[in-house]
Symmetry: C2
Subunit: 330 residues, 2 copies
């Protein structure tokens, strides 16, 4: 499949997910309850998790459409956590738009997130019944892990030192768990056996780890327009990203001092702070180190995919999505 064909295919799936999501939040509920939910779920998201569900289902021989409700459930659950995470992070912008609590207020953001959690359950309840219990268990376990990961992320804010192992453990829960679950849920609905479902779970997990590191990189080395966030936002808010914790781990005494100085500033010019921290990251080769690690996770994902007992041509789209996550052309 050519790169263009994959992009086209991805767009088609995304539109299918968008339509289904729009339906999920407008059923029989008063307008004012769903306004914020609809906003949180409005087009613009990549729908990555839903599409992993659909592609995993299809890869093992199922029809993508059979996994659509489950895919939407995962996507709604993910966006629910974003609404609440944005509260916790005091984030004002997401995907080039105001966050829910900025556009409305705190109460509306708390409540809209809550109702999204139950709308996600509702979508799951429309999964073919013979798979329902099994996939719901996978989903709910991941949902709890996402919360535990968010707890660790919150705890990191107060921690003086976070090792890169601790950081990876956090993103394993906060980000990778749901992508792992997405691949497994798709696989189960597509009719995969226990072994293949488990391998695809690990495939999704490694994808998630690569994705998060890539996401951390994009905060500094990405394109603001494409990314839909303020550039260097993680540096400005002292967020402990992979770049941050790795840099502090390998920095010289002098570099550590400079970094901690920047991260300790009460008042600062954001642009200068981003520039100074990025300079040290560059001295430490942090971009390469991070890219190398993301690539390692993608390689592990490919190795796992090789072990799934389906024909190789069925795996192409999962390979494509993995490559696209780390900005690699096929």
């Amino acid at each position: 499949m050519t790169q263009g064909a994959f992009a086209q295919r991805y767009d088609n799936l995304r539109r299918m997910v968008d339509r289904s999501l729009a339906g999920a939040v407008t059923q029989n509920r008063p307008k004012d309850v769903t306004a914020a939910c609809r906003f949180a779920l409005a087009e613009g998201g990549k729908r990555l998790r839903a599409i992993i569900v659909l592609l995993a289902c299809q890869a093992v021989g199922g029809r993508a459409r059979a996994a659509l409700n489950a895919g939407c459930a995962v996507e709604i659950m993910h966006n629910f956590t974003l609404v609440h995470d944005d509260i916790m992070d005091h984030a004002t912008v997401r995907r080039n738009l105001p966050t829910v609590h900025s556009k409305w207020n705190l109460n509306q953001a708390v409540l809209s997130g809550d109702v999204m959690a139950f709308i996600a359950n509702e979508c799951f309840l429309q999964t073919p019944q013979r798979h329902l219990l099994k996939v719901f268990k996978v989903f709910n376990k991941a949902a709890i892990e996402v919360c535990v990961g968010q707890q660790l992320d919150i705890d990191f804010e107060k921690a003086a030192i976070v090792t890169h192992e601790e950081y990876l453990r956090m993103i394993d829960l906060k980000t990778a768990a749901l992508m792992a679950a997405s691949a497994k849920i798709g696989a189960i609905i597509g009719g995969a056996d226990e072994k293949d479902s488990e391998i695809l779970f690990e495939f999704g997990r490694n994808l998630g780890l690569a994705f998060q590191i890539q996401d951390d990189l994009l905060d500094i080395y990405g394109d603001a327009k494409v990314f839909g966030k303020i550039m260097g936002g993680d540096i400005i808010s002292n967020k402990k990203t992979f770049l941050h914790v790795k840099a502090l781990e390998i920095a010289s005494v002098e570099q550590s001092k400079l970094l901690n100085e920047q991260f300790g500033l009460k008042e600062f010019d954001p642009e200068t702070k981003v520039k100074k921290v990025t300079e040290i990251y560059d001295q430490l080769n942090i971009k390469n180190i991070s890219e190398r690690l993301a690539n390692e996770y993608i390689s592990t994902a490919f190795n796992l995919l090789g072990k799934v007992s389906i024909a190789n041509e069925r795996k192409t789209e999962l390979v494509n999505i993995a490559n696209s996550l780390i900005g690699r052309n096929n």
Copy 2:
């Protein structure tokens, strides 16, 4: 059954629920994630919803224990909404203890509530499999209604006038929906047919409506120690309770003016405000009007119970719990 025997029986069930809840929040999760959840679920709650699940199950011929996980799920879901409602209401005290966001902080309260929603799902997943899908649908529908009710409650804050019909519609969603679902879930697990399950749903709904009006009354006419809240807190915070909306509906021009004056004060002595508003409530006979309405809902609940196709002696405990809700001795 004597009143003492019922109190004893209720206590036994509550202890069973407490033990099960304690287990639900400590399984395999890091300490820091569950500290706030455990606090939110700590002993002290009446466990009313869980006990309705258990008693409904038993009334139709099932074993209470078979419904224990579902009862805990409902209870966890209820307490999750309390944690988030307390954020939205800026409430600092619940059951004589600080609210989660007061004891910890906003972020911890948002996140702990979220994880409780998924722990509730987890409890549901342990329901006997042949009933699982059916009861989970009932539960999730109610959960969405609770959120919709909370949205209406939030909207009321800004509304100039709320009619008592609008108020009843709000508590029907915010409070009664989950108590209706509790009775139906218990009934389904206990093996009731569709018709009896539906009647018990309506039974629970009327119980919930009576309960909320009683709860509104207790804010002024209750015992602060027993109630575990600041007395007159609803008046101090201008909360639109049944008493508030009904009083404004039947007040004379002069009384309306006095009430709106009190509810419009930016700075005030809380005690004086509660005293002045209560005086007008008393002139308007609001206590009696409210008690009469709560009693009507309880009567409706009893009529419904009469229609359930089980022997009358099986209904005793449901009658007892209904009476206890409005402080009526058996």
